[in-house]
Amino acid sequence: MNDTSAASILVLFLFNIIVYNIPLLYGTVGEIITEKAGSLNLGVEGTMAVGAMFGYLAGAWTDNILVGLVVSFLTAALCGLLFAVLTVSLQANQNVTGLTITTFGVGLYFFIGKGVGQNWPTMQQAPGLSAAFGEIHIPVLSDLPVVGKVLFSHNPLVYLGLAIAVLAWWYLSCTRMGLKLRAVGENPGAADSVGVNILLYKYLNLMLGSGIMGLGGFYMALNMSGSFEGSNCWVNGYGWIAIALVIFANWNPLYAILGTVVFGFFNTLQVYAGTLASAFPDGLGWLNAVPPHLFKALPFIITAIVLVVSSIRNREGSGQPAALGLNYFREER
């Protein structure tokens, strides 16, 4: 039987914020890399769905989490490639193409899922996969009170997500390639004139960004025990939240971690409000009176506020690439 003291409920609440919302971090970091290359890819939801479906099937069939990770990354990167072909080479409108990718990706998700039908592999048939997704207890650290459970007892994909976020920050801010990439996003004409290969940078980074999104989809598939029932998509709108989070994080992968925790806090509070209210009747009893829809809406309201504040503060402070959403056509330079 679970320990149901008020303190342990609080710890589990904090734990769940991370477990259930890390996919947002993958989606956000992937979209930040994409947008830093000057491309607004609204296809996060579809890209994540593709990564989720193919990654899960490959991972379950081979009973190997690494295969799942690689396949989800590659299939999602193919979505990024499609987006790049359409918007970079064929100069299609980025917004429309992104929405198309979402429709396509989610449609493909259901098409494949229903096509597999009776042969669907469950997590129980893939003991290796579910064991690899299990919690790892980091020695010493995980024995610490509170933070041990909240921060150091997660499944490996949580740490992978955090590592990717930090690496993405390092890549964008501290490397020569990252510098060139940001130049492509800010002013592709100038970057082109100093010899940056715009096509190469756009293609590679759009695929890299999409691949990272796909990993987030794979995470969601595992989090839902790989149970496909044909009416809901595993990604379930998280891709859209990730796009809002990019703005919240001011295009900085490190802030994306903070944003994930903030969005995740309200996301999880939605299901936890009543439990917290009864665990702490004196301090948090008022939570019962708050309509749960408010918790759903709050992160977006905060995003709007962040957007307003950052645009008032100074233009320099905004991380939004200047050429975001604009297609680069060399002959028009």
Binding site: L12, S227, S231, Y238, S278
Partner: protein
């Protein structure tokens, strides 16, 4: 290069169009009617001519969930009646609860010659009511699930006493809580007091659990949506975190049962036997046998609308007795000893009409050492969570309030979280 690309794209598009084409012709079942006569010759003339139309809220190819259950019920019923669903069942699916869309679907089905039109979702009620009243559709029979509108001429509604099955799952959950010593049960509900359908389920489950374990409490978390698997999963997890040892659900997906399985607790599902998904956690599920209604309805409809309204009535509500609701086979590997016997004893009481769930008579069920079961009927007030008496001790069942949709309270033992 560009020309080649454009050509390749054009070819791909043509191919995908062709694929769509073949898809829709096979899925819009029965658009060609001429071939239906080639079905086996032993059928009566009316069996092979009669056309049924159905309006679904989700996809007809779903592999689980609400629409799937109805689709399965309709096709099973038609096959039992010697009809061919491939040619005699016409479907418009993915129809949202919007009067214009539903009217369009009805027009489509009517123009294709459907003599019976089935609408499965609650929000279809106004559009179906309006269509039934149209003079040009006066020969078509309309039948609507879960609603409350009807007319004496050609429009009825139907639903089942799923609360009876819920009570049985409550017994199974209560016995499990006695066995584990954890009196805290959890319930993931799409809605609670907003619909009589949902709160009656919560109440019946709670009363069933209390009948075997008087110390049981049922903590309810509502989702405010009918279909969100992610939320269903997280809500179940929150209940488990708060210490619930058995997770019941009023939502479509098996996610609450999977959460129970992975946390080492137990659960009672809904709509389908979820033992397959969660073999170490799932005890039993409240399930529907929609084919019971559909078979009776289609059979009656083939003999004309007067006969249909006479036999089915303006409001059709069947329960355990008619076999329209039931529980899935009890998972003996998980269930507490005596669960089957206790469930059987209560089923008998309900089927015989001797007793019903929302009455002033409470059941006290005890499982003896030797596996036999004592069921004691005690007069007791049925009270809501505020302590108001809903039915005085010994009073008759208020199952009417479930059927007419007026139930809007939770019984004692329910904790809303």
């Amino acid at each position: 290069m560009k020309k080649f690309l454009a050509m390749a794209l054009a070819v791909a598009m043509t191919l995908s169009l062709a694929a769509c084409g073949s898809n829709s012709s096979s899925s819009s079942a029965g658009s060609n009617t001429g071939s239906s006569s080639s079905a086996s010759g032993s059928q009566t003339a009316s069996n092979t001519d009669f056309k049924v139309g159905a309006i679904y809220i989700n996809g007809q190819n779903d592999t689980a969930g609400y629409t799937y259950q109805h689709h399965k019920g309709i096709t099973t019923a038609m096959e039992n009646l010697g009809m061919d669903p491939a040619t005699q069942l016409l479907i418009v699916d993915q129809v949202p609860e919007n009067d214009t869309e539903v009217s369009n679907a009805i027009d489509t089905l009517a123009s294709q010659g459907c003599q019976l039109i089935i609408g499965i979702s609650f929000g279809y009620l106004n559009a179906m009511d309006a269509a039934a009243a149209k003079p040009e559709y006066s020969d078509i029979i309309f039948t609507h699930a879960t609603g409350y509108l009807s007319n004496p001429d050609n429009f009825n509604n139907y639903f089942g006493r799923i609360y009876q099955a819920r009570y049985l799952t409550g017994i199974a959950a209560g016995l499990k809580s006695l066995e584990t010593g954890n009196n805290s049960l959890g319930y993931v509900a799409a809605y609670n007091l907003d619909y009589a359908e949902t709160c009656s389920g919560i109440n019946a489950f709670t009363l069933g659990a209390l009948a075997v374990n008087p110390n049981a409490t049922v903590t309810v978390k509502t989702l405010d949506t009918w279909g969100d698997e992610t939320l269903e999963r997280q809500t179940a997890q929150a209940l488990i975190d708060a210490g619930c040892g058995v997770i019941a659900q009023h939502c479509d997906s098996a996610q609450p049962q999977l959460a129970a399985q992975e946390s080492g607790v137990f659960g009672c599902g809904y709509n389908s036997d979820m033992t397959e998904q969660a073999p170490d956690a799932h005890i039993t599920a409240a399930i529907w046998h929609w084919d019971v209604y559909y078979q009776a309805a289609i059979e009656a409809a083939m003999q004309g609308k007067e006969h249909f309204m006479e036999t089915m009535g303006e409001a059709y509500y069947a329960g355990l007795a008619e076999g329209m609701v039931d529980i899935s086979p009890i998972n003996e590997a998980v269930a507490a000893p005596g669960t089957q016997a206790a469930v059987d004893a209560v089923t008998e009481l309900i089927v015989s009409g001797e007793w019903d769930v929302f009455s002033g008579v409470k059941l006290n069920i005890t499982v003896n050492e030797d596996g036999t079961v004592n069921v004691e009927q005690v007069d007791a007030d049925l009270k809501d969570t505020a302590g108001n008496v809903i039915v005085p001790a010994g009073g008759a069942s208020v199952d009417d309030s479930v059927i007419k949709g007026s139930m809007n309270y939770n019984v004692e033992g329910v904790v809303v979280s």
